[in-house]
C-alpha cells in the first residue's frame, strides 16, 4: 500500500504559538532543575522516608507511553496490518521521544546529575536493575532510530526485522522497569506480576494517547482519517484495559487473601490518599469508564467518545504509576513484624508525600521539551501521511 | 518585498546559531585578555615552612598532576582500604592555608573542585 508522507506546513500562527509555549515550559523546567541542583533535593516533597516521588512516577510513566506508541507501529511493522502504515512514522518518533522523556525525568531526579553521565557506564552493576535498565533504554532509542531509518527509506525487510526487535525490546524494557519495583523488598512492591502488568499498562496508555493524538493531529491539519481505523485502535485499547484490570485484580486479591499481606493490602486499598487515586483515578476513570465507552454501542462508534476513552486511560495509567511507587514508600517497612513502631522524627510510622511546585515544574518541563521536539519534527520530517484510509481493495501488499 | 534568495537564507540559518554558540568563547577570550595583568591572574603560591623537607613529588609534576595523584590515592584508601601518606588530609600539614595556596591557582582559572565541599581544608 503506497502511503504518501508529507511535512506539515507549519506556518500558521497557532503552530508557532504552540511551539513557543512548549519551548517556554521546557525552559522553565530546565531552570528549575538548575535551581534544584544548587539547593539540594530538599526543595522537593521527598524526604528520608519517601525518597522517590513525582519525577520517578513520571519517568516510569513516560517509559510506559513509549511502549504504547510502539504498539501502533508494531501493528504495521510486526503484524503487517497495512491499514496502520500511515501512523508508523509518527508512532516510532513519538515512542523515541517518550523514552528520551523518561531518561530526562530520571536524570533530573538524581542527587548528583553530573556523575550520572559517567559512573553508570564506567562502573556497571550487573545485579542492579537501575544499572541494566538505562542500558536498555538507550539501546531502545538506538533501535528506534534504526526503525525510523527503515521506515523513511521504506525498506520492507529491514522494517520487519527492526519492528520485531523493537517490539521484543519494548517488552524487555518495560518488564525491567516494572522489575525495579517488583523485585524489591518492600511489601507493596514485591510482586512477580509487576513486570507483566507494567507492560500491559504501558501499552494501554500508549494506545490511548495515540488515539487522542492522531485524531487531534489529523483534525488540526485537515487530513482525512478513516473512522474505522480509530475504532480498531479503540478495540485494541479495550483489550489492553481488560488485561490491566485483570492484573490489578489478581495482584490485589492475592494481597488481601493472604493473612500475611492483608494489613498491607488494606492500607493500599483503603488506607490513605493514594486509595482515592486508586479507586477513582485508576479503577473508575482509568478502567471502568473507558471500558463502558468502548463497549457501549452508541459511544464505541463515536469518535469523540473513543477519544475521551483514550484520554481517560492515559490519566488512569498515570494514577497507576503513582500507586505503584508511592504507597510502597509511605507504608513503613516491617522491621519488627507484629509490633507497633514509633519514634522521634518522621522515620517510623506511616509517611505522607506531596509533590512541591518545583517537581511539577520539572515534570512539565520534560513534557515541554518533547512536545517541542514532536511539533518541530512534524514540520522538519515527513511524519504524517497525506491521508489515512483503509485500502478499498483487498489484495497482496504492494 | 523581495524574497531573500535560497542560498543566503541557508547561510543565515547556520550563521546565527554559530554566532550564538561562539559567544561564550568570545567572552572568555575578552575576559582573559582584559584580566591578564591583574593580581588575580598572577597566582602566588605560599611556600610551606622550610622545615618540611620532603615534598610529595617534584613541583612540575604536582603543578599539572596533583589531582591525578589525589584521585589514585582516593581509590586506594576508600575502595581498597590501603592507608596513605599523601592524601588530601595530609596536604594541609605543610600547605596550611587553602586561600593562600590552593585557591591561588584555582581562582585564577575559575576552577571549583568538588573536594572542599566535603573535605575540610582551612
Amino acid at each position: 500500500m503506497e502511503v504518501k508522507y508529507e511535512r506539515i506546513a507549519g506556518n500558521s500562527r497557532h503552530y508557532y504559538l504552540a511551539l513557543a509555549a512548549f519551548a517556554a515550559v521546557g525552559l522553565a523546567g530546565v531552570l528549575c532543575t538548575f535551581w534544584v541542583l544548587g539547593q539540594g533535593l530538599w526543595v522537593t516533597g521527598m524526604y528520608n522516608r519517601v525518597p522517590w516521588g513525582l519525577q520517578i512516577v513520571m519517568a516510569i510513566y513516560y517509559i510506559g507511553l513509549s511502549a504504547g506508541s510502539l504498539v501502533i507501529s508494531g501493528l504495521y511493522g510486526v503484524f503487517g496490518k497495512l491499514e496502520y502504515k500511515p501512523f508508523a512514522r509518527t508512532a516510532v518518533y513519538l515512542g523515541m521521544l517518550f523514552m528520551i522523556a523518561g531518561l530526562l525525568s530520571i536524570l533530573t531526579d538524581q542527587g548528583r546529575m553530573d556523575r550520572v553521565f559517567v559512573q553508570p557506564f564506567v562502573h556497571f552493576n550487573l545485579l542492579s536493575l537501575f544499572s541494566i535498565n538505562p542500558m536498555l533504554y538507550i539501546s531502545y532509542i538506538l533501535i528506534c532510530i534504526v526503525y525510523l531509518y527503515a521506515l523513511f527509506r521504506d525498506k520492507k525487510k529491514l522494517t520487519r526485522v527492526v519492528a520485531t526487535l523493537a517490539f521484543a525490546w519494548a517488552f524487555g524494557v518495560h518488564s525491567g522497569t516494572g522489575a525495579i519495583f517488583g523485585f524489591g523488598p518492600r511489601t507493596l512492591y514485591d510482586s512477580p506480576l509487576l513486570p507483566a502488568s507494567f507492560v500491559v499498562a504501558a501499552m494501554a496508555s500508549g494506545t490511548g494517547l495515540m488515539i487522542a493524538l492522531l485524531v487531534a493531529l489529523f483534525r488540526l491539519t485537515r487530513r482525512h482519517l478513516d473512522d474505522e481505523l480509530v475504532f480498531g485502535l479503540g478495540r485494541l485499547l479495550a483489550l489492553f484495559v481488560l488485561v490491566v484490570l485483570y492484573f490489578l485484580a489478581v495482584e490485589n486479591l492475592y494481597l488481601v487473601y493472604q493473612v500475611e499481606w492483608r494489613a498491607a493490602a488494606l492500607y493500599y486499598l483503603f488506607g490513605g490518599f493514594h486509595s482515592v487515586i486508586f479507586w477513582v483515578g485508576l479503577i473508575g476513570l482509568g478502567c471502568a469508564v473507558p471500558l463502558f465507552l468502548l463497549f457501549y454501542p452508541r459511544t464505541s462508534k463515536s469518535i469523540p467518545w473513543v477519544v475521551t476513552a483514550g484520554c481517560l486511560v492515559v490519566l488512569g495509567v498515570l494514577c497507576e504509576r503513582y500507586v505503584i511507587v508511592i504507597p510502597g514508600l509511605t507504608r513503613p517497612p516491617e522491621i519488627f513484624p507484629g509490633m507497633e513502631v514509633s519514634g522521634p522524627g518522621l522515620i517510623e510510622g506511616v509517611a505522607s508525600y506531596a509533590p512541591t511546585l518545583v517537581e511539577f515544574c520539572q515534570a512539565l518541563g520534560v513534557l515541554g521539551i518533547i512536545g517541542f521536539l514532536f511539533l518541530a519534527g512534524l514540520k522538519v520530517f515527513k511524519l504524517l501521511p497525506a491521508e489515512a484510509r483503509i485500502a478499498k481493495q483487498a489484495g497482496p501488499a504492494s | 518585498m523581495n524574497e531573500t534568495p535560497q542560498s543566503s537564507r541557508s547561510v543565515l540559518f547556520l550563521a546565527v546559531p554559530a554566532l550564538i554558540l561562539l559567544l561564550p568563547f568570545a567572552y572568555s577570550l575578552v575576559a582573559y585578555v582584559a584580566g591578564a595583568d591583574t593580581a588575580a591572574a598572577r597566582p602566588f603560591l605560599e611556600k610551606p615552612d622550610p622545615k618540611y623537607r620532603n615534598c610529595v613529588r617534584e613541583t612540575a609534576y604536582m603543578r599539572f598532576h596533583h589531582w591525578e595523584l589525589l584521585r589514585t590515592v582516593r581509590e586506594e584508601v576508600v575502595r581498597q582500604g590501603k592507608p596513605s601518606e599523601t592524601g588530601l588530609k595530609q596536604c594541609k600539614n605543610c600547605h596550611t592555608s587553602r586561600e593562600r595556596f590552593c585557591n591561588q591557582c584555582h581562582n585564577a582559572v575559575t576552577l571549583n573542585p568538588d573536594c572542599f565541599g566535603c573535605h575540610y581544608y582551612p
Partner: protein, 241 residues
C-alpha cells in the same frame, strides 16, 4: 559490493566490535559487589537492650558529632545513622526502646542494587558508601529492609568533626560502623559514648576472632537479629529483643 555497502559494513563491524568489547568489560566487572572475608576481620555489633536506658541519647549525639551527619533542624532531612525507636507488641505488652542502625548485612540488598557500585561491602564486612561515586539515585534506600539508609537532601552548616569529611547534598549514606576509627584500632563513636554513659550496651568487635568480646557475647547469650527471615544475614545482634 560497491563502496557504500563496504563502508556501511565496515562501520557496522567497528560498532559491533566496540560494543562487544564494552559488553565484555562491563560483564566481567560485575563480580565486585561482594568481597570474600576469609582471613580478615569480620566486624559485627552486639546491642544489649537490657543495659540500654530508654531516655539516654549518648550514642545518637556521639554519632552525629563524630560523623558530621546532616542536622538541619527538620525531621524530614535530618540524618540519623543510629536511631532509637519505641516498639510495642500489637497485642499488648510493654513498650521498649530499641537502637537501630545499619546492620552491615553479609548479603546487603543496598549493595546489590547500587547502579554504580558506590555502596559496597568491604572485605571486613562493613557496608559503606563511596561518596565520590554515588549518583544519588536512592535505590539503596528503597532496597534496605531496615530503613537504615539516608540521603543528604539538605546540607548542614555545622561541621562538628573537622577531621572527618561531611557529605554535600546529593549522596546517600548510612552508618559506617566508624570504619575510619576501626581501621586505626579505635572503637566506634557510639560504643565509646555508651561506655562513657556507664551503660556498655553497644559492643563492636571481630566476629572472626573467637576470643573477642563480641564472639563471647554472641555464643553465650540468646541473640536475635532483625528480620532473619529475609536472608540478608545482618551482623548486628540484639540481646533481650
Amino acid at each position: 559490493m560497491d563502496r557504500r555497502e563496504f563502508l556501511t559494513a565496515g562501520g557496522g563491524l567497528l560498532l559491533a566490535g566496540a560494543a562487544g568489547t564494552y559488553a565484555v568489560r562491563l560483564l566481567t566487572q560485575a563480580g565486585a559487589v561482594e568481597a570474600v572475608t576469609a582471613g580478615r576481620h569480620r566486624w559485627g555489633m552486639v546491642v544489649d537492650l537490657r543495659k540500654c536506658r530508654p531516655d539516654c541519647t549518648a550514642c545518637l549525639e556521639a554519632c552525629r558529632l563524630e560523623n558530621n551527619t546532616a542536622s538541619v533542624g527538620d525531621a524530614r532531612w535530618d540524618v540519623h545513622w543510629i536511631r532509637k525507636v519505641h516498639v510495642k507488641p500489637k497485642n499488648g505488652g510493654a513498650e521498649r526502646s530499641v537502637v537501630l542502625l545499619c546492620n552491615h548485612c553479609d548479603h546487603p540488598p543496598c549493595a546489590q542494587v547500587c547502579p554504580v557500585q558506590a555502596t559496597y561491602k568491604r572485605a571486613d564486612g562493613i557496608v559503606i558508601v563511596d561518596h565520590h561515586r554515588c549518583i544519588g539515585c536512592r535505590y539503596c534506600m528503597i532496597a534496605c529492609p531496615y530503613n537504615a539508609r539516608y540521603f543528604n537532601f539538605k546540607e548542614s552548616e555545622e561541621w562538628p568533626n573537622k577531621e572527618f569529611p561531611k557529605r554535600s547534598h546529593g549522596v546517600a549514606e548510612s552508618c559506617t560502623l566508624c570504619a575510619h576509627l576501626l581501621d586505626v584500632g579505635k572503637k566506634p563513636a557510639c560504643v565509646q559514648a555508651c561506655e562513657r554513659a556507664q551503660a556498655g550496651a553497644l559492643v563492636v568487635g571481630d566476629l572472626n576472632d573467637p576470643q573477642s568480646e563480641i564472639s563471647r557475647l554472641v555464643s553465650e547469650n540468646s541473640v536475635k537479629r532483625l528480620r532473619e527471615d529475609l536472608g540478608t544475614e545482618p551482623k548486628v545482634y540484639y540481646i533481650g529483643l
